[in-house]
């Protein structure tokens, strides 16, 4: 009967990226928390102007541990919804027995998944630099427009980039792609909560083929596991026009399949 939702952001973003989802879910009567990754808290414009060196200390392992601590602070077990690297962390947290249901939207490569060419090309700004593992990396607006938010109308690119994009640590990529991330995931888990994987047909960062490959591994688990494809959506699916459909589908699925009975009543904003 949980009324608590935790939203987990991915690389290049912070909690601010969830502002619309948070408001929408709160209007439905849920308690919503969206913790930042360590050292990602603050205004994106300010973070871009002064990238924090401390980010280089935090890879997937450290960030998952951080969210474990955040979950422990909550009054009840939450629904976990994550995007991109956040979608990977959701899978790790579920694997640790946390959360009553999980949604991984456009998840980045989890340990155990081969990266398709599109994702490798998108990772070039980071993985193309052998020293980036120890660096804080900034995204260019061009990259944001062409690969990250290719589903966003051109006239909204400036506004979204300025409002949401933050620097990220190369360590996230290097640890995630070539060092085993936060450790292996038990694909055939008998115990993890239900999981929905959402992929985007136009996603150039985490291509739908990769989401599907993840689903093919996750569906070996005992509990319900589903895959949902939005054929015309990019990696920016949580903020590009029509994000509400994704947000509602994710929550409805999670609420309907959450552990410990279903959420009894979803208060719709009148």
């Amino acid at each position: 009967m949980t009324k608590t939702i935790m939203l987990i952001h991915g690389a290049w973003l912070n909690a601010k990226g969830w502002e619309n989802w948070k408001a929408r879910y709160e209007a439905k009567g849920f308690n919503v928390v969206a913790p930042d990754w360590p050292h990602d808290d603050g205004e994106p414009a300010e973070l871009r102007a002064n990238p924090r060196k401390a980010l280089t200390k935090f890879g997937p392992k450290e960030i998952v541990a951080h969210y474990e601590r955040e979950i422990a602070k909550l009054p009840e077990a939450p629904i976990l919804i994550g995007h991109s690297a956040g979608g990977v962390f959701v899978q790790h947290l579920l694997d640790k027995g946390l959360g009553v249901a999980g949604v991984a939207i456009d998840p980045a490569p989890t340990p155990g998944i081969g990266i398709p060419l599109t994702a490798a090309i998108s990772a070039l700004p980071v993985l193309g630099d052998p020293f980036s593992g120890a660096k804080v990396v900034s995204m260019t607006k061009k990259f944001f427009a062409e690969r990250f938010a290719n589903g966003l109308p051109r006239d909204m690119v400036d506004e979204h980039f300025n409002r949401y994009i933050v620097p990220t640590a190369g360590k996230i990529y290097w640890d995630g792609v070539v060092s085993g991330g936060a450790g292996p995931i038990t694909w055939n888990s008998k115990t993890r909560a239900p999981l929905l994987l959402i992929g985007g047909g136009l996603d150039l960062i985490a291509p739908a083929s990769m989401t599907k490959a993840m689903y093919n591994k996750q569906k070996r688990a005992a509990s319900k596991t589903e895959y949902k494809l939005y054929a015309d959506r990019s990696h920016w699916t949580c903020a590009e026009p029509g994000w509400e459909q994704v947000a509602d589908f994710a929550l409805d699925w999670a609420a309907a399949n959450a552990r410990a009975g279903n959420v009894s009543s979803i208060h719709r904003a009148a």
């Binding site: 155990g112 081969g114 990266i115 060419l117 990772a123 193309g128 060092s179 085993g180």
Partner: protein, 283 residues
């Protein structure tokens, strides 16, 4: 230069040296190389009266740089197109690394009478990637690392691989051959980046277990124990167990690229096997 054209219009380059009536030996190169990688073996067998044939896999060497077909089913179909065109009978197929996977996949499907024997050298079967069924395999992150390096700077990556692990030149006391390193780079850069990228999945994630079980002809499995590309323990001994008529020989301390670094040691055993003689030190 001779080519065959496959049903999807791909041109496959091949070499075909020696007497037409001689015993045919077909060589299958590894990733991301070409038929040229077999010089040491092709000259050796040519000098002994054999007919030696080697092709460039699609997307490699001089063959077409196709957008698709970079997986084992198509690789094996391309080989079948070649052996059909040449109408080979009782050929011996020798594959190195990825080429060993191609040999297993082809021989398991070959028309009756086409193949008499096969050899897997430093070959990828049964399967490289780690899983519940293959706990001693390499984690997928290793292959993601190869992919990332290829995408980031293929030209440099193709220097680093032969300079280090491929030939064991990173081992203390190794006798480094700059020629081998340069030739590896040359062959690699002749091929297509997309084909090489997709081929990583083909060689690491294809499960050859059923192929190996199906093969009826004698197979010689030859592998260096210091193979830093296809680790010995998770490949050769497991393949031999699955084969009906498998013979294993481990070469202590030899590297993945032993066909080029130690042809004086490896070639006589290949010859013995082709001639149906006992291979010294094999079990």
């Amino acid at each position: 230069m001779p080519f065959i054209t496959t049903t999807d219009g791909t041109e496959i380059f091949y070499k075909d040296w020696g007497p037409r009536e001689g015993q045919a030996i077909v060589f299958h190169h590894g990733w991301p190389l070409s038929a040229d990688d077999w010089d040491s073996q092709m000259l050796f067998f040519l000098a002994r009266g054999y007919r030696v044939i080697a092709h460039d896999r699609r997307g490699h060497g001089r063959s077409s740089q196709t957008i698709s077909g970079h997986e084992m089913d198509t690789y094996a179909a391309d080989v079948a197109a070649l052996t059909d065109t040449l109408n080979l009978k009782g050929a011996v197929h020798i594959g190195h690394s990825t080429g060993g996977g191609e040999v297993a996949h082809y021989v398991a499907r070959a028309k009756p009478g086409r193949v008499s024997k096969a050899v897997l050298v430093g070959a990828v079967p049964p399967i490289m990637v780690k899983s519940d069924a293959n706990p001693a395999g390499l984690p997928i992150e290793v292959f993601n690392g190869l992919r990332a390096a290829l995408v980031a700077n293929r030209a440099q990556f193709y220097i680093d691989l032969p300079t280090g692990p491929f030939y064991g030149f990173n081992r203390p006391g190794a006798k480094v051959s700059q020629g081998l390193i340069d030739n590896w780079w040359r062959q690699g850069m002749m091929g297509a980046a997309n084909a090489h990228y997709e081929c990583i999945k083909a060689f690491s994630e294809t499960d050859f277990t059923e192929d190996l079980k199906k093969i009826d002809v004698p197979v010689f499995v030859s592998h260096g124990t210091d193979d830093q590309i296809v680790p010995y323990a998770d490949s050769a001994p497991l393949s031999v167990r699955l084969l009906k008529q498998g013979t294993l020989k481990a070469y202590p301390g030899l590297p993945h690229g032993m066909l080029s670094t130690h042809p004086d040691i490896v070639n006589p055993d290949l010859l013995a096997f082709v001639e149906g003689k006992k291979i010294e030190g094999a079990d």
